[in-house]
């Protein structure tokens, strides 16, 4: 897929840079593709790739895709792509549109297996000369994978010409791969072999490992085998290190999702002691708010779509928080001090909310798009990090920090803590406890809404979205210790990491089961969680 994209980019570059002069040189060769059957096509293809002219790339790609046709009226070679019932014609070199034709007007230039091989070899070789470094890089990678000995002369030329360090390294790796596995290996000196093996070891990924294993297992000389074996162990160590790091990243990523889902619960359950089984539905409402905001942007300001998430954040906070306040005022305030009854009532609310969303938006998943700055990925050493996950990790920690500041440093936070610790006394000091209750519950629900915005980016936005997180969230809060935000942080990251480190050995489902069993056993050891409150608060 990425290769195709790069080539598409190359195509744009090619269209922009190819001059009329080039086109004039190539045109007879392109024309020759259409005559002489398989052998004629193959001969013309060979000559095309010998020119080393990247303008030929789109033509050859069209040939590969079966889009290259001969127009019967004037025997011109054209690209014909199906559009509806007819074919849309275009010039293979300039890309200029040449009108429509029916299937009867054109003959496809057919290709066989030997041609297919020649096509990929010549594409690989041609793109090695591309002016675009990215295209050269992916071409080098393609050669590395195919290890086609025919590409060696072109590769050598390309290496001599190459200025870009990273691309040259990729090309040298490709050459090393061809040399070590091809017939040339038996004629090489030990020093050459050693340097080729070193080049591969420097690459240090799974592909290199496969190649090195092939070298070590082949009928090569003892020296080759020895150096390959040494290289294999270095590469394996390196891979293990990066795999551990990748797991840690996945764990952090999962942990931050858990943190986001659980942190609102840490407020309603941890601080207020309300078991809010409708917490997951607050998350779901946040996700649906994101969907609505995005629909609005799609309809009215498609150009500003990248900003929709930023608008969705406060919107989701307000909507979910508002629903939370309504729930608190209408149901929960009658049930303070009866945690198990609250549990049942909020469970009932969660069922009703799910059904309400299902009735309004339908039972199917809703499409929530990612803004451009959240899509894509980058490589960090041996790690692949997607921007979406990175932003969620950052966002989770930002929400956590903001909540911590709100609880510890603001008047509102002070009131919350006062009411939690001693309700009658807080009341006597002039704090409107009922209002603080409502706002605290609204805060917890609003944070759940924020989580919904983030989760809408990585999960399906459906009425059941919240259900998937509610049990995990409770596990995190209980594991971390009720009434302690730091406990929630540590709990989320620990459970996320344990889960991801277990997954490679036990599989996703068994890993999750093991985590649940671990929590059940852990609660036996520390019935009040990792960071238990001490003193009087325990009995309250």
């Amino acid at each position: 897929m990425r290769r195709a994209l790069r080539w598409l980019m190359a195509l744009c570059v090619v269209v922009a840079t190819s001059t009329a002069a080039h086109a004039a040189d190539l045109r007879p060769l392109v024309q020759a593709l259409g005559s002489g059957g398989y052998s004629g096509t193959e001969k013309a293809l060979e000559q095309l790739s010998e020119t080393g002219d990247t303008a030929a790339v789109p033509v050859i790609e069209a040939l590969q895709a079966g889009d290259l046709h001969v127009r019967k009226s004037d025997n011109a070679v054209v690209i014909a792509r199906k559009s509806g019932d007819a074919f849309a014609l275009s010039d293979p070199l300039s890309g200029q549109a040449l009108g429509q034709a029916t299937a009867a007007d054109v003959t496809r230039i057919r290709i066989n297996n030997s041609l297919r091989r020649a096509i990929s070899a010549s594409l690989g070789a041609l793109t090695l000369m591309s002016p675009d470094a990215g295209v050269r890089r992916s071409a080098a990678d393609a050669v590395f994978k195919s290890r086609d000995a025919n590409a060696l002369p072109t590769l050598q030329k390309a290496i001599d010409k190459e200025q870009d360090k990273a691309v040259r390294a990729a090309m040298e790796q490709a050459r090393a791969a061809i040399l070590l596995t091809g017939e040339a290996a038996s004629k090489m000196t030990d020093a050459d072999i050693q340097s080729a093996v070193d080049t591969l070891a420097a690459r240090g990924d799974r592909d290199a490992l496969v190649l090195l294993n092939m070298v070590a297992g082949s009928g090569a000389s003892d020296v080759t085998k020895k150096s390959a074996a040494a290289a294999i162990s270095t590469v394996e160590q390196k891979l293990a290190f990066w795999a551990a790091l990748q797991n840690l990243w996945y764990g952090l990523s999962l942990g931050s999702v858990l943190l986001l889902a659980a942190i609102g619960l840490a407020v309603t359950f941890g601080v207020m002691g309300v078991i809010n089984m409708a917490h997951g539905e607050m998350v779901m409402i946040g996700a649906y708010t994101t969907f609505l905001v995005q629909e609005f942007f799609r309809a009215h300001a498609p150009g500003l779509f990248d900003l929709s998430i930023l608008v969705a954040l406060p919107a989701a906070f307000i909507v979910s928080g508002g629903v939370g306040i309504i729930i608190e005022r209408s149901v929960i305030r009658w049930l303070y001090g009866r945690p198990l009854e609250t549990l049942l009532a909020t469970w009932g609310l969660s069922l009703a909310l799910q059904q309400a969303v299902r009735s309004i938006f339908g039972p199917t998943n809703r499409e929530v798009g990612a803004p451009s700055w959240m899509s894509g990925a980058f490589e960090l050493g041996g790690l692949t990090i997607t921007y979406g996950r990175l932003w969620i990790v950052i966002f989770a920690f930002a929400v956590f920090a903001a909540l911590l500041v709100a609880l510890k440093r603001t008047w509102f936070g002070l009131s919350i803590r006062a009411v939690t610790q001693n309700r009658p006394m807080a009341n006597a000091m002039g704090i409107r406890t009922a209002r603080v209750d409502a706002l605290t519950f609204g805060l917890g629900s609003g944070i759940a809404g924020l989580a919904g915005v983030a989760l809408s980016q990585i999960d399906n936005v459906s009425p059941n979205l919240g259900q998937g997180y509610i049990i995990d969230s409770f596990m995190v809060v209980v594991f971390g210790g009720v009434g302690n935000l730091w406990g929630t942080l540590v709990g989320a990251l620990t459970l996320g990491s344990i889960n991801k480190f277990l997954e490679p050995y036990a599989g996703a489902v068994l890993g999750k089961i093991l985590v649940l069993i671990f929590i059940i056993l852990f609660i036996q050891r520390r019935p009040r969680g990792l960071f238990a409150l001490k003193g009087r608060a325990v009995e309250a």
Binding site: G348, L351, S359, M475, V509, L516
Partner: protein
């Protein structure tokens, strides 16, 4: 001795419940099998299976009420014991299929043949015998409950924490039973049963017999539960529900009392599951879903917590409502159920039987102290 134990629990309420059950046990077979089909008093076999299903749920609710109403343990995982009992029965019924399965393997159930298994896993051995399966229906849920409770109660995990880890337990089992490698049919569960104890499971007489067996199991469980409640042990249970620390300080080994009631309750739930499976014809992992456990809690809450009879009443009423709504107004069922949860907790903290108790208590003659629980403030705080 045993007779005295059973008679001890027999009060007026128990008399009413047992009378109704006895009438059901006699009237339903007569109305199904001997009343002609065109008579208005005829019951279809479908209705009998439906009633049987309700009574299985009622037995589950009874089991739950025993621990929630009388020990203050709100289990959000009782459906796990129900489903384990159901799987034990399902395994027996699977083995009874024998060579009549799609693949015709005389020993292996179809799904194992499908997974290319060569021989029966060790934990399936013995399930071709009814007596073994019947013991397992009690032993498997009981053993799990015993182990779980032994750990949890000794560590003094109480209240909300206990509720949440029971939920974790059933969720873990849900995930486990979804796995094909577990050898319990994975996603599809166990189904396509042929016969039970040699009788065709689809036959009218078998269905009626299963119904009568369910009524008998419910009546027996009710007598056991009310016997336990009326005994000295029951008094300790109620005491530790209301003020566990005080009971412990008085020298009682509260963990053992709780563990006994908890394990007994799990066995009852297992029996309920075992009777449920042949009547509905399937058992699959969705029975383990935390939602079904919580639904069972609402049955008890609707009927009246801590009344035993209330659980039965609530289970039957709520499930009749469910059958009606999911058939006639499927969109509204979750609204109705959700509203029921909220309304019961807000307006009917003692359930329907509590409401009845309040109404009758106002009559001058019945002005005795209410036997219903929830009277103690510590219960509301701690439970």
């Amino acid at each position: 001795m045993l007779l005295r134990f059973f008679l001890m629990g027999l009060d007026r309420k128990a008399g009413i419940v047992l009378t109704i059950l006895a009438i059901l046990a006699v009237a339903v077979p007569v109305m199904t099998l001997w009343v002609p089909a065109d008579s208005p008093f005829h019951l279809s076999v479908f209705t009998v299976s439906l009633l049987g299903k309700y009574l299985c749920f009622a037995l589950l609710a009874l089991a739950l009420d025993l621990v929630w109403g009388y020990c203050g343990i709100l289990s959000l995982g009782h459906a796990a014991f129900f489903a384990l009992g159901g799987y034990a029965m399902g395994m027996y019924l699977m083995r009874q299929i024998g060579p009549r399965g799609v693949y015709g393997n005389p020993v292996l159930p179809d799904f194992m043949v499908f997974l290319n298994w060569k021989e029966l896993p060790w934990y399936w051995l013995g399930f071709d015998q009814f007596w073994f399966a019947a013991i397992m229906v009690l032993v498997v849920p009981g053993a799990l409950a015993f182990a779980f409770g032994w750990f949890a109660f000794r560590s003094r995990v109480t209240g909300v924490y206990l509720s949440i880890i029971t939920q974790a337990l059933t969720f873990a089992l849900l995930l486990a039973f979804f796995r094909n490698d577990m050898g319990f049919g994975g996603n599809n569960g166990l189904t396509d049963f042929k016969d039970i104890l040699g009788y065709d499971i689809q036959a009218d007489t078998t269905r009626v017999a299963l119904f009568v067996a369910t009524v008998a199991a419910l009546a027996l469980s009710y007598m056991i539960a009310s016997g336990v409640i009326a005994s000295k042990l029951g008094k300790v249970l109620v005491a530790l529900r209301d003020a566990e620390s005080r009971v412990r300080f008085m020298g009682y080994d509260t963990e053992s009392y709780k563990l006994f009631a908890w394990t007994l309750s799990a066995c009852m739930a297992g029996v309920a599951g075992a009777l449920y499976v042949p009547q509905v014809g399937i058992i699959n992992p969705s029975e383990f879903a935390p939602a079904s456990s919580i639904e069972a809690v609402i049955w008890v809450a609707v009927g009246g917590r801590g009344t035993l009879a209330g659980g039965i009443l609530g289970a039957v009423l709520v499930n009749m409502g469910k059958s009606y709504f999911t058939g006639a107004l499927p969109e509204l069922w979750l609204f109705a159920l959700g509203g029921l949860f909220v309304a019961v907790t807000l307006f009917l903290p003692k359930g329907l039987l509590g409401l009845w108790g309040q109404l009758t208590a106002k009559l001058p003659r019945r002005n005795k102290p209410s036997a219903l629980p929830n009277a103690h403030p510590a219960d509301q705080k701690g439970a």
